[in-house]
Subunit: 111 residues, 2 copies
DNA sequence: TCAATAGTTCTAGAGTTCCGAACTATCAAA
DNA sequence: TTTGATAGTTCGGAACTCTAGAACTATTGA
């Protein structure tokens, strides 16, 4: 297993963020992490929006979020703890993440 | 040639928008259209960010933006006139498009 | 009718994504 | 110190998507 890759703040791109969040499952995971006061284990998202996500797929989704610069993952014993990088991203793209989370939550509420 | 498909406002999705704008060329085209007071022809974007875009690719990009609900395209004689649907999208996802355009322009300015 | 211009569609190759199977890493109990 | 359990990663093939050249359609003006 290679060490986990987290891009530097300057290497985070707008299109990278939009691509990472352009997937229903991934945006749901990200909102879940960003909205929690605590770090979240990957396994906390084995079901997302009432759908079961296979663990290999889940691992790929976390990798995508990590490489886009949206989350930071650290191994803690047998599990991975994931936290959002919202505060950092906010300094680079002010207002972007709140707008996306807001749009996600507003849509979720509608149904 | 089939008639052009424009989704109804209610059928516009967050992930659809993020996917459409997760491509460097497409986000540049969209910001160009959204930032202009006038309708833009497709051919106005044969070069985007100093890169030549083949016309079949350009046509696909416009289709993607159209199907995401971000632009409206109307044939005017021999050409297509494209306008943004920002105002409509704003009513569905308030603040989202301005945040993305803002992030795009801020990043462009940096270099 | 013909030619020119603007976009679209077709299609093949390149690249990406999904997910089951096999793997690795960590820890705790025997 | 093996063994087992749990958590996550990597591999590989099938399905899907994207790019761009070639051929096509639509409109207009000569």
């Amino acid at each position: 297993m290679r060490p986990l890759a987290h891009p530097a703040l300057d290497d985070i791109t707008l299109t990278g963020i939009l691509h990472a969040l352009s997937d229903e499952t991934r945006v749901a995971i990200f909102v879940g992490i960003a909205g929690s006061a605590y770090s979240q284990r990957c396994a906390a998202f084995t079901t997302v929006s009432e759908k079961t996500v296979p663990k290999s797929t889940l691992s790929q989704h976390f990798k995508a979020l990590r490489e886009a610069g949206l989350i930071r993952s650290e191994r803690q014993g047998v599990e991975m703890l994931n936290t959002s990088r919202c505060a950092e991203v906010e300094t680079r793209f002010p207002g972007l993440i709140p707008a996306i989370i807001g749009a996600y939550l507003a849509k979720a509420k509608q149904r």
